[in-house]
Structures are given as structure tokens and as C-alpha cells.
């Protein structure tokens, strides 16, 4: 729902991280969006494209990896992906569950083309 604010925060982080690399151009950004984060990947892409114009991230491709809602059931021990928001174990109908993945709203990497730095392979 707040994809524009999230895109703004994302660009803020990108600008901060890319600051030491003078003249660099950001070519790709990878983010993880969990199913429970409430963020719509298409809306985020749209917002990102719109507000990156004129900045260091203009033209960068935003790659979004969607993370499923995965729960660990403390009753039967299973770790399962669940589709809907019901936090009940599909295996044993247990309700003592913990969310393992699905809440992510993380930036994972920024790819840049070096500006006036010597081009080197980084591990």
C-alpha cells in the first residue's frame, strides 16, 4: 500500500550505498518481498521507475524475489509453505505456529557499473 514511500526509502538506501563510487551508474537492484509484507511487486516497480528518474538509479532494473509465507508448526514439527493468511498448520491443523519466512521487505544487492574507478572483478 505504501509502495511509493517504500520506493523512496529504497532509493535513499541505494544513493547512500553508491555514494563512495563516484560517477557510478546503478544497473540492477535485487529486493526480497515477503507475501505478508503487504507490498504489491508491480506497484513497487511502477513507483520505483517513476521516482528514480533524474537520480542515480534511473534506468536500473528492479528485480523482485517474492518470498512465500512459510510456517514452522510446533505441534508436528513440519515447516510448510501456506498460501492463505490463515496461520494454521495444514498438516495437523495445529495453531502453535511460527512464521519462518514471508515478512521480508529487504534490499539484497545493488549492481553498479563503475564510473571513473578502474573496473575490477569483485568476489
Amino acid at each position: 500500500m505504501h509502495e511509493l514511500a517504500i520506493a523512496q526509502s529504497l532509493i535513499g538506501i541505494i544513493e547512500q550505498e553508491a555514494l563512495p563510487y563516484t560517477g557510478a551508474k546503478v544497473t540492477r537492484v535485487r529486493v526480497l518481498i515477503g507475501k505478508l509484507s503487504g507490498v504489491m511487486p508491480d506497484a513497487l516497480k511502477f513507483a520505483f521507475e517513476a521516482i528514480s528518474v533524474g537520480g542515480i538509479a534511473e534506468g536500473a532494473s528492479l528485480e523482485i524475489e517474492e518470498v512465500p509465507l512459510r510456517i514452522r508448526c510446533h505441534q508436528c514439527g513440519e515447516v510448510l509453505v501456506v498460501e492463505d493468511p490463515f496461520l494454521t498448520c495444514p498438516n495437523c491443523e495445529g495453531t502453535d505456529v511460527e512464521i519462518v519466512t514471508g515478512r521480508e521487505l529487504d534490499i539484497r544487492s545493488i549492481e553498479i557499473e563503475d564510473g571513473n574507478q578502474a573496473s575490477e572483478e569483485h568476489p
Binding site: A18, L36, L87
Partner: protein, 218 residues
């Protein structure tokens, strides 16, 4: 080259919310983030709470609304420290706005801070403000299908108050279905049925708050 990160995109809010949380802890203040749809009964619940607990606890209130100070005015006659935040369009309160709000309060004079969030069943759930617990209030006229439709709000809340139960005889509200769905979405959710109008069930709420506000670190 690739710069690798593991960073929450909304880290900035998390950091501020943590700072708020640390300050509240230092001052021994228990903080409730009260959320719910427009008209669910947040402000009325607040009024009942101030009437009942105002003498027993030192209460402070932060009101969040897009516009007007009507809610702050409604509770003005209880004469407790109150700050009204107008977001000017933002649909929820975030850590930064609340930080601005607490600067207007003398925290040494407060044991219990109730933050009444902007009326909204979606966005406030996404933002932490440094509270001890999120409490949501939903009302019978809104319908019994809300847990499935607005899961995040139910998932992040510790307590759910189902308000306006005095209207049950006049509406098709399936209480069993509602409870079942709410607990499926959040098995740890505590649910209380209340009527802020008749007072029914409110003692449970007052006890819940009193138990928690008594402890210095919530």
C-alpha cells in the same frame, strides 16, 4: 560490481521506533497502539478508559488523524496530557510522527500512553511506533468477514476488541465464524466482546490494561 546487503527497506522507521521503545522503557511507560476502522469506536473506548482508569493510572494520549483535532477535543475535559498529530494525508502513524508527538509530553508524568492511530484497517499494521502492544478494535456493523480480508491487522495485534455487541440482535453477524477466522489468522489473538455504549465487557479491557500498565517495562 555488486554491493551485497541485508537491509530492511523500512529500516529507518524501525530504528526510530526502537528509539521510542527504549525511551518508553527508561521512563517505565506502557504503550498501546490502538487501531481500527473509522467509526469502530477507538475514541469512545478511550473515553471509557479515561473515565475508569484516569484516577488509577497516569495516562497520556497521542491522537492521530488526517485532519482536525476533534478527537483531542472530545477528551479534553478529562484533562490528561494529550497531543494531536495531524498527518495531513498519511494514512497511518509511523515512528517518526510519534517521536514528534512524545516531545510534547512530559514522559515523567505518564505511566500509560495510549496512541490512537488513524482510522484504517490496513496501513497502521505495517508500521511499528515503539509500542508494547498493538490493540485493534472492530465493530459488529463492519461484518464478520474482516479477519480473512484484512489479515495483517489481525496478525500484528495482541488483543482484539469486538465493539458494539449491543447491536447483535439487529445485524447478521456470525460471532462463531468471526472468532474462528480471527483465530485462524492469528492463533495467539486474545478476543474480547464489548459494548462501549452499554459498558458490557469493558471490565475485561480495564483489567487487561491495568495488569500491563502496572509493570515498569510493560
Amino acid at each position: 560490481m555488486e554491493i551485497k546487503l541485508v537491509k530492511n527497506i523500512l529500516e529507518a522507521n524501525e530504528v526510530i521506533a526502537s528509539e521510542n521503545r527504549r525511551l518508553f522503557r527508561e521512563k517505565g511507560i506502557y504503550v498501546v497502539n490502538l487501531m481500527g476502522s473509522p467509526g469502530a469506536g477507538k475514541t469512545t473506548l478511550l473515553e471509557r478508559t479515561l473515565e475508569n482508569l484516569g484516577d488509577k493510572k497516569r495516562i497520556g494520549v497521542i491522537e492521530g488523524d488526517i485532519a482536525t483535532s476533534r478527537d483531542a477535543q472530545r477528551i479534553a475535559h478529562y484533562a490528561i496530557p494529550t497531543v494531536q498529530i495531524n498527518t495531513g494525508g498519511a494514512c497511518h502513524l509511523d515512528g517518526n510522527m510519534v517521536r514528534g508527538g512524545i516531545e510534547e509530553l512530559d514522559l515523567d508524568q505518564i505511566d500509560l500512553l495510549i496512541v490512537e492511530n488513524v482510522g484504517n484497517l490496513v496501513c497502521p499494521a505495517e508500521f511499528t511506533i515503539g509500542e508494547n502492544n498493538k490493540v485493534m478494535i472492530i465493530s459488529v456493523p463492519e461484518g464478520d468477514d474482516k479477519p480473512e480480508k484484512y489479515p495483517l491487522m489481525f496478525q500484528v495485534s495482541s488483543l482484539l476488541l469486538l465493539n458494539k455487541i449491543d447491536l447483535l440482535p439487529y445485524l447478521d453477524f456470525d460471532m462463531e465464524r468471526f472468532r474462528r477466522d480471527a483465530l485462524k489468522v492469528n492463533p495467539k489473538l486474545e478476543i474480547m466482546a464489548v459494548s462501549c455504549k452499554s459498558g458490557e465487557g469493558l471490565d475485561n479491557w480495564f483489567r487487561w490494561i491495568e495488569q500491563r500498565a502496572g509493570r515498569a517495562d510493560g
